[in-house]
Symmetry: C4
Subunit: 288 residues, 4 copies
């Protein structure tokens, strides 16, 4: 899994589709989105400007005729005034063909901005979370033995409810000549909490059933393993379920360490979470 | 069931309703949608143009009067400039009635484009999946016996989570003179997976409880039976549950075959899925 | 419960709220919605027209001055051309104050149509079902005894999945001087189905635990009782859960009757549902 | 927890993000939203007006040149006519640079109003409930002992279904020098109801397992405790799940009191709820 929550799987030969285009336009960065929108609108207007020049600039009354470049520029400005329906009127279409093209263009313009409105709303309203995971997962003391632990905090002010975690471990093994990826679900001490106002430390006890039990924990960083986390929550602001994924590689697991407290309660019972100390842990002696 | 996931049931005499119109406009193809939109806008503008001509073209200042056809064309262009609110102004309304009609038209135009904006967004944002099901379902070796198997892959780049399958079989039987459709749920080896980055082979073991146990598997193609699949998943991009349906008829079940591997892992542990080999299977000896 | 699924409960003294206004605008009929929209836009424009006349019609260049009524009419048309941003320009604002009012008006106009766009989309996309319930609920023969039965069919072409029913009975009783409403949940033979392509007959067996067991079924019509049904389903087209409610009063329960078949299967295994025969039942001898 | 349902937790050092901006714009009050929108549009137009003056007012044909202030005002009005696409045309751009700026401005204007449309819809359609909780929670007689009770009513006309409550109690304790917040879930007599047409009294019996059992109930007001309530429901109008939170502090619990009836049934079986009597209770002798 990549750090942004997508999976590292290559599918070869999948055909395109208009719905995928929509999905891409929703997912891409804002910079790319605005650049694409700008280019698309410009190209459309240049094409319409070419059409007006082709029909004849003499049908654009108010336009000062000149050389081809001059005509194209003026036609482009007229085109844009039509496309955005600003329609000042100091240049106006005369003749059936020019009028008809401007009819098509103004309708096209309204449609294009309708689509952009929808895309902007789709982009903004897309559910998302901003959770901060501890940089490292720890193998920390737990009851009489050890447990895999990491913690998470909500960076937003909104309230997440019914937080549910499911954690898995995949490991790359060689069986003879064959490469395989094995997959294990990890049992959690608590896998669901109702409120999430502060931080949550997720704990997988390394007991007999744990796949970590049979690994050499001192050499975890050398294994091609990955701890894959999925968090599900209900976002109260938008009334929808949100999912968040994260992963730790073997080299991101610190063996023999425990987290420092993430929050402190003062004498009035108020809770404070200093986020710059969120990743802090201290080393403990590990033996197993 | 049809291949697009709709059911092959005829209901006679259901009355229409405005909400059904919305649903149709959301479901129809893009070509049909744009054609309908275009025709609707054109017809509206022709009606308004007729109104302007009926009131009198002399109230459209800037308009060059001519024969009826000439007047209608000019009125149509003025109408469109009003409808799209481009309003160049080289033709402008004079007189109370013409002004009032243009007031109504510009408001109508804005409303119509508001509805189109909504419809476009509704169409784009409609949840959908693009899953590829194996062309054939197989009766393949499984443990000591046989199992019905088919597989599925996500053609999109987005991540589907919490994939859940439910599979049923319906068979058309004649009991005396009466035609009946019997319905059986098929037990699955695994009916829910948490992540779906690669492919999933869905397995129904043909054991004592399976309705296939009492059928002549060698003559499956002759039965009027259908295997109906419903997949439910959570689409992380749009934070909504999506459903997908598919079906296999008796003639699409290959008895005595097993799938070739759908994916390969390289030495670095990376997974590749060649989609052009997705449907591939090899024949095995079947006996029961 | 009323037939439209709302409950017949009066709450006295609930204060209003802007969000309730939105909800009302979404729920009201289309006729009322368009009438309100029309009136609202007209009133706004009359107010702006009054403002222009108050500032002075001489600041509306191109306008022909006349008596007050004439001025108001012209100002109204200018106002509307500004409000809808059609802006022909044959009347245009001159002077700071008139210009400023037109600035405010054009922005207001765009906002108003933005809100209308949102409301239209909200109205259209509101989840809904069109289920047809049988006109009567029947007390019909069932196994060795009797059961309360009614049936339901989806009038839309869309597919409903995971249909779930819950049925309750409330009865008005007098205990001494006190009026009470008692509430019983009714057990169903089957309360959930996965697909809903055809019809579904919902069955409540009248056994020892049923509240109907202690009623005089022959005099059901005289009781002030109500059978309240709630159906929950997943609408595949819009990917959302929809709910539908319905109720039968005592007088709508036919004691001693059974439904005629709702569908027929032909020799090719195709199912047909004639909706005009959907409510049909035949009387059977009732004794208990 | 605060009375508006947010939690009283301070997180220090969380970085900002564009998505959080969207969330803020959705959550803020209407007054603040409209003020921000107004200022944003005004600032944008002043900037464009400055650009037009900088290029040269002689390129705005129809504009009457004057002193800088005069020019700026005229340029501002032209800018607004471009931004809103009203484009009267009595002032129109001439020259490549001025034309190009007006091209950018009209496109910007359409984009800005597209975003505003989306935000308005996002604000309106945000799920919400308007539940009224009783001002006080009561320790009231219940069976042979006592129970914590409070009640809730829906202030809206819409129907809430599948109402589900979960109640917790947190208490601030000092263990030696350390401040701690202990958290207990409270068992409820009934934690889920299907319909919610009237009122619901939520009851937590104070039995052996209840954390209240070990507290001195007569001195509850002095404890730094909080009863935290979460209600989940399905809003039938918008087909979405809504959540509502509320809390009572120790001083808001009345020990030894019971609620007066919230509703009355008349002789025709109709239910009426007078909301002004909703908080009413009467004192009873408390002893434990």
């Amino acid at each position: 899994m990549n750090k942004d929550g997508t999976f590292n799987v290559r599918k070869i030969g999948a055909p395109g589709n208009i719905r995928d285009t929509y999905q891409s336009l929703i997912i891409m960065t804002w910079a790319k989105f605005f650049a694409l929108t700008f280019i698309f609108i410009m190209v459309l207007n240049v094409l319409f400007a070419l059409a007006y020049v082709f029909i004849g600039v003499e049908h654009l009354v108010g336009d000062k005729e000149g050389d081809l470049w001059q005509n194209l520029t003026e036609a482009f400005f007229f085109s844009f005034q039509t496309f955005t329906t600003v329609g000042y009127g100091h240049i106006s279409p005369v003749g059936k063909l020019t009028n008809f093209v401007s009819v098509i263009e103004s309708a096209t313009g309204l449609m294009v901005f309708a689509i952009i409105t929808g895309l902007l709303y789709g982009r903004f309203s897309r559910p998302s979370t901003r959770l901060l995971f501890s940089e490292k997962a720890l193998i920390a003391p737990y009851k009489d033995g050890w447990a895999l632990m990491f913690r998470v905090v909500n960076l937003r002010k909104n309230t997440l409810l019914e937080l549910e975690a499911s954690v898995a471990m995949t490991i790359h093994v060689k069986e003879g000549n064959e490469n395989k990826r094995k997959y294990y679900r990890l049992n959690l001490e608590i896998s669901k909490i109702e409120f999430f106002p502060a931080t949550w430390t997720i704990v997988h006890p390394i007991d007999d059933k744990s796949p970590f039990n049979s690994l050499d924990l001192n050499n975890l960083a050398k294994e091609d393993l990955e701890i894959v986390i999925q968090l599900k929550a209900f976002d109260d602001t938008f009334s929808q379920h949100v999912h968040s994924r994260y992963s730790y590689e073997g080299s991101e697991v610190v063996v023999g360490a425990k987290f420092k407290p993430a929050s402190s309660v003062d004498d009035n019972g108020n809770l404070t979470i200093p986020l710059d100390e969120f990743h802090d842990y201290k080393i403990v002696t590990f033996s197993k």
